[in-house]
């Protein structure tokens, strides 16, 4: 029997990917929409948010000063829980900082076209996240004024060197390398757009500023010639780097002998968790940003959906990690290990009654809920296309990933080998303001970035549009360019609501 045209169209519609760019764009419109807002006067909402951000940053400063002036005693840390918020926040931020490089590097290598509209954005987020993370390793030491330079191998008058068997030394190299590389990668991509800003600005002094920032870039073919390769190589470099960084962070735990830390599964599961939280953070920031910067035509539902899929995948990996830890702890028959995980889950504690009374059990289950249950909503097309859903989900995932680090760091330590030293950890106000403060500092930097730099890699989008033109991709599915607008119309309500939130 014959299949109706409508049905065939519907079927194709379901299979065809959503468009990467919406509306009929050319370089001119792209310049207007992607660079234009830099010249617009800052809105009230923006000012308000920056204000809040700065207040939080002030709080952060206070917390840091107090910590350095009085000592780590201002935190809740104790023996055996000698690491707590400091390290949790460090790992959390570093993890978040993984999405940027991943998107821009790995997706570039895989030639995923959809990366172009979000990579700049994600890279900036990476930088600012790593900046937060970088605060903690030094701050959490007892004597930061020494840590700041004793951790580097320089010839000192006492002839003593750092100890390279320590994962902390690996951390020092990994984090600093990661930060520097991401910064350079980001800036290299930014240069042509800075030139574009220089040339599109009306004020001469502004043109001067951007002129200097762009090092006098003039888009010469001889430059593009090297530029393409250099950019590609940096991407190729950043890919193993991004994997190495969280692997090394996971060594901080995996290399130790603490039950709950000494896990061979850590490196992959940490990297997956990092990507997971990173994408969640990109999502959290992107959903409102694309609305207020009017970027919907370049950051389309297709991008959002792709991110949802990645989050779903990584959440599955993470979930598998959780499962394995608990399984192995039982399978290995190691009492300390078994107790460790029984004490986390609070159920199936075998002979250890006391394991069921741990005050931290809810945090473990919150983690499971946020990182395993919540993301499974992305199995549905609805979940992947409804911005409300993905936005709230992404926020919950950020919470969940923080909990994961709490579970690993604090819960493992407070129930280690000798029960005689077991104790409970309670954070102090300094701990909390450090967490809150870094979040504010992060958002402040991000808002400034959104205001003064192009949030989308303009030159790459132009290039993409050009490619699409030449490939006549758009001509293949004229009717879908209409259909594809659909999900955006659904959002109208949400936009107003979000605008409300900011006013």
């Amino acid at each position: 029997m014959a299949i109706s045209v409508a049905a065939r169209l519907a079927a194709r519609r379901a299979l065809e990917p959503l468009p990467l760019l919406e509306g009929d764009q050319d370089d001119g419109t792209l310049n207007k929409t992607l660079l234009g807002y830099v010249w617009r006067r800052p809105g009230k909402g923006w000012l308000l948010l920056v204000g809040l951000g700065l207040t939080g940053t002030a709080l952060l400063t206070v917390a840091v000063v107090i910590t350095v002036a009085k000592g780590i005693g201002m935190w809740g840390n104790n023996i055996p829980v000698a690491w707590a918020f400091g390290i949790i926040n460090f790992v959390w931020w570093i993890g978040i900082g993984h999405a940027g490089t991943l998107i821009s590097a790995i997706l570039l290598l895989f030639q995923q076209k959809w990366r172009t509209s979000i990579n700049r954005f994600a890279e900036a987020m990476t930088l600012f996240a790593v900046l937060q993370a970088a605060l903690f390793p030094v701050l959490h030491t007892g004597r930061p004024w020494f840590a700041i330079y004793w951790l580097f191998p320089y010839p000192s008058t006492n002839r003593i060197w750092p100890q390279f068997k320590s994962p902390l030394m690996w951390d020092v190299f990994a984090v600093s390398t990661y930060f520097i590389t991401s910064l350079l990668f980001w800036y290299l991509g930014l240069i042509p757009d800075l030139a574009a800003l220089r040339d599109s600005s009306s004020k001469r002094w502004m043109r001067r500023v951007y002129g200097i920032m762009s090092f006098g870039w003039r888009g010469s073919a001889r430059h593009w010639h090297h530029y393409k390769i250099a950019y590609l190589l940096l991407a190729g470099l950043a890919t193993p780097l991004v994997l190495s960084v969280h692997t090394i962070v996971s060594y901080d735990f995996a290399v130790s002998i603490v039950p709950g830390w000494h896990e061979t599964i850590f490196p992959p599961y940490f990297v997956a968790g990092a990507v997971f939280s990173g994408f969640a953070m990109v999502m959290t920031l992107m959903v409102p940003a694309r609305r207020f910067l009017r970027l919907k035509h370049v950051v389309t539902p297709r991008h959002l959906e792709a991110m949802c899929k990645i989050m779903l995948t990584t959440s599955l990996i993470v979930g598998y990690g959780y499962l394995m830890e608990h399984f192995i702890s039982w399978y290995s028959g190691n009492a300390a290990d078994f107790y460790q995980y029984a004490n986390r889950r609070g159920i199936l504690h075998g002979p250890f009654k006391s394991a069921a009374q741990d005050p931290y059990i809810p945090i473990f289950w919150l983690m499971v809920f946020c990182n395993v249950v919540v993301p499974s909503i992305f199995w549905t097309k609805w979940g992947r296309t409804n911005v409300y859903v993905m936005w709230f989900a992404s926020i919950l995932i950020n919470v969940g990933m923080w909990c994961e680090r709490f579970v690993i760091v604090v819960i493992s330590l407070h129930r280690d080998y000798l029960p005689s030293s077991w104790t409970i950890y309670k954070p102090t106000w300094v701990d909390l303001s450090l967490l809150f403060g870094t979040i504010c500092f992060f958002s402040t930097l991000f808002l400034l970035f959104l205001k003064f730099l192009p949030a989308v890699a303009v030159q790459e989008v132009k290039e993409l549009r050009h490619e699409l033109d030449t490939e006549h991709e758009r001509h293949e599915l004229p009717e879908f360019s209409q259909e594809a607008i659909h999900p955006m119309e659904l959002e109208v309500g949400e936009e107003d609501e979000q605008e409300e939130k900011l006013r």
């Binding site: 060197w161 030139a195 006098g216 888009g219 001889r222 593009w224 390769i229 250099a230 470099l237 132009k462």
Partner: protein, 176 residues
């Protein structure tokens, strides 16, 4: 003092075409400018293969080697200490730092090398900037520049460019 003729094109293809024609006509000191890398311009201008990968490779290997030697020398040679009964020179523990230092040096070379050596930047002033219209080169238009020889007035060059489809042709001179 250096003099240039600048020609603006609306889209990449005619620019590439014009560039090729000029080169084939044996003109020296050619260059093209575009907001994003344009396909085909490289061979149009017959640009030699880029040395960037070589530089990156050398830098990366140097970094890695340096990183490894540093660890080995400091912990196993210069001040050998019994740390937890582990071998003083334990190569597996040296892998992370070796890798990271390799990446670091490679990245630094890629950024600063290309910027300062291959691009000869920073260069806030360049003759092309003498023309206000040239601003479009980083936004949405595509330019070709050709250097004028001593005493050449360049009228014919202007004409050829117009014939090649340039929407706008100007002549700039390097300020001294």
């Amino acid at each position: 003092m250096k003099r240039l003729v600048l020609a603006e094109f609306a889209s990449p293809e005619p620019m590439v075409e014009a560039a090729r024609k000029l080169r084939e006509s044996g003109r020296q000191g050619l260059d093209a400018y575009s907001p994003y890398p344009v396909h085909g311009i490289d061979e149009a201008l017959k640009l030699p293969r880029s040395k960037v990968p070589l530089m990156a490779l050398v830098a990366g290997l140097t970094g890695a080697a340096g990183g490894y030697v540093l660890q080995w020398w400091t912990n196993a040679v210069d001040y050998l200490i019994n740390v937890a009964n582990r071998p003083a020179h334990a190569w597996p523990t040296n892998i992370p730092v070796t890798f990271e230092s390799g990446v670091l040096l490679c990245a630094l070379s890629l950024f600063f090398g290309t910027l300062f050596y291959f691009f000869r930047l920073p260069r806030p002033y360049h003759p092309v900037f003498e023309s206000e219209e040239f601003r479009s080169a980083s936004l949405d238009k595509f330019w070709v520049s050709a250097e004028l020889k001593e005493g050449e007035d360049g009228q014919d060059l202007v004409r050829t460019l117009r014939d090649l489809g340039a929407r706008r042709v100007t002549q700039v001179a390097e300020e001294t």
